[in-house]
Assembly symmetry: C2
Homo-oligomer: 404 residues x 2
């Protein structure tokens, strides 16, 4: 019998308790041991709850109970969660989390501490909700040098873009609808502004390339700059606008990571990733491209990934899992604005002027039929560093990369 | 240093040697040990080859060498491969394979033998080439009861269908082209006829549901019955024809498995899986639908999956991996012809006659514009057991399920 403590009884934490109970038989079979949730820690009052007897408010009860061998951290953030995770590891307990902010910010430190104590710190649920991605990268693709990783990493912003594309809603209306449906929080900034996707590409990048990439090293653009004109222009060119996090290994071995809207081809796989679903593409030097798709958030999908990690802890009490990366720094981060792409541009200029500055362009619309009076076109491949001043000189309203 | 023997130096076996050499640094880091290919066993003569010194023809050399701890079986088939795999396990060596026929036929026996000897028998490369799927099902989805699994499991037949859909090639021409490009063998029966996909759905089904499903329990239809008329009719309805293996847990807990062409919606993810790529969808009771996509075959992708298993063996010499299923039998197999679907039907009848027998139908073509003079329509949901006699009475040329 493995005794567990759950810290934070919100959506994911309560989902973990539910999955452990609902699928107890399957879980016990796969782990070769039953599990018991001994404590649930939450600052709120849960008197009358069916788990009433398990609730505690004081972390030191968990910390000092030698029976607890796995701690589930679903508190979120980098405050208490950081403190409690360190103390749990120091107290000899493996930790499992869905907290992408903590892993993206302090992952290398916490992984090093877990290694030192011969424990596990696992975080499958931190990226892509329930989608298996951390384990596949670290194990299944272990024979590959990873060259690139990118994907639709935030379900809320993908839902908003899907509504704009399929139903012609404006961004504001689509965000309100997402809030009504519970897909977006009251303050949707982290989703819509891109910082949630930024944390996730940090985790994927660190895991794929072995050195911590920190959020402040990842230029991040959300979807607030995407308009219905952009959506329509993209459609007329055979593309959809998707919000991607992306990390690329450059020729010098440094890693260029960034988050921004992209135009993806309608006949490609990412174009059909709709609503709150996520998808992540990994490019390995032996395997080529593989893609992982599924629900990027949600109580039970995310909880099922947490529980898979709990099972893995139980199977690896003696031989810890090899999931690891080292400290990062300036020496590892390349400037993503050096990455070359074809660009989609919407601007209040003449085609002649655009061509004069940018060279060969392909016109999508001359601006006569559009509500904003802007022309839209695509360019040849160039880096943002080469294009930026020209985009500014052209009074550019939108400029997004085309995914290769 | 972990010493390996490779049995069978064909496409996959030679790819394994290549990946081990090319990505040696990454592999050693992930496995925390270097690897050495001590023997390569092949009946052919490889004198002058750069690995000349490693080649042997006699299995007993591997069997009797205590230094060899991992054996790679890329011989294929159920003859020598079966014998050598058993003997390698009995001699205390873990075995890694890409041999889907052997796993689909004797998996439960070989897994039981591996368990008894506290060794690993791993086969990530047996399904979906390099796509991570065996490990994700057994580990990442370990907290889920799996309800259904299906996918595009054969790259050759998917290439042929893609050529028919995109370029209007006939089946015969597309098969010839696949052979010219090296995507199909001289005798393409196993791919085109569906038995390769059958073996793969057996493995996925056994792993997902815990009991061996044997190839003879899986009704299997290839793509030879698909015509260009079917392709065009499907397109007119917003669908593409894809060849799927599928396994469903029925209400009584039994498993219905089968292989056949399906109509899938053009705006769904499977529709954009083109050419030799594979994709597998797993439906769990907590996670919902997740999909795994990638190259379904090919030397280096498949080899990279084999090498991931080799790494896993090296990390699990003491605590073996829990990948397992029990013996099957009639008690576990449900009749897939009881599964209900909407059907696409092409038949040389009148719409009135079709409606009289099948109830409400939706006409795709009245037959006036088509080269075969057949009408095409879709039906309401019904099982094949209920529909079969009616399809026969209607002179049906093609009848394929619509994927829900």
């Amino acid at each position: 019998m493995v005794k567990i403590a759950i810290m934070g009884f919100g959506t994911v934490g309560s989902g973990v308790a539910e999955v452990l109970e609902t699928n107890a038989e399957r879980i016990q079979k796969n782990a070769a041991t039953p599990f018991d949730v001994k404590y649930i820690m939450d600052i709120r009052d849960f008197s009358g709850h069916r788990y009433e007897d398990k609730f505690i408010k004081d972390f030191s009860i968990i910390e000092n109970d030698p029976e607890v061998s796995v701690v589930v951290e679903t508190i979120g953030g980098t405050g208490l969660a950081y403190d409690f995770t360190k103390r749990a590891l120091l107290a000899g307990k493996s930790v499992v989390t869905s907290n992408k902010e903590l892993v993206a910010t302090h992952g290398s430190e916490l992984l090093a501490l877990a290694k030192e104590k011969n424990l596990n710190y696992l975080f499958e649920a931190s990226v892509g909700g329930g989608i298996p991605i951390i384990r596949p990268i670290s194990q299944c693709l272990a024979a590959n040098e990873i060259d690139e990783i990118y994907g639709i990493l935030n379900g809320t912003s993908n839902y908003v873009l899907t509504q704009m594309i399929q139903n012609g809603l404006t961004l504001d209306t689509a965000v309100k609808q997402a809030q009504e449906k519970g897909y977006a929080e009251a303050d949707p900034t982290a989703d819509i502004g891109g910082s949630d996707a930024c944390r996730k590409i940090c985790i994927l990048s660190s895991l794929s390339f072995g050195r911590h990439i920190y959020p402040q090293q990842v230029p991040t653009e959300g979807i607030t700059c995407v308009t219905l004109e952009d959506v329509n222009n993209a459609r007329n060119k055979g593309y959809k606008i998707k919000h991607l996090g992306r990390a690329v290994r450059m020729a010098d071995g440094k890693i260029a990571s960034y988050v921004s809207p992209h135009l993806v081809r309608c006949d490609g796989l990412l174009a059909n990733v709709e609503g709150v679903y996520n998808a992540i593409v990994v490019r390995g030097n032996a395997i080529g491209d593989v893609m992982f798709y599924g629900p990027g958030a949600g109580k039970l999908p995310t909880a099922s990934a947490v529980v898979a990690d709990i099972i893995d802890c139980a199977k690896h009490f003696t031989a810890r899992k090899h999931i690891d990366w080292k400290e990062g720094g300036d020496f590892i981060a390349a400037d993503p604005d050096e990455l070359e792409s074809c660009w989609y541009v919407r601007a209040a200029v003449t085609a002649a002027k655009a061509q004069e500055l940018l060279g060969e362009i392909q016109i999508i619309t001359s601006g006569e039929d559009t509500s904003d009076g802007c022309i839209a076109f695509t360019t040849a491949k160039m880096s943002l560093n080469k294009a930026r001043a020209k985009f500014e000189a052209l009074n550019t309203a939108s400029a997004f990369r085309l995914l290769d």
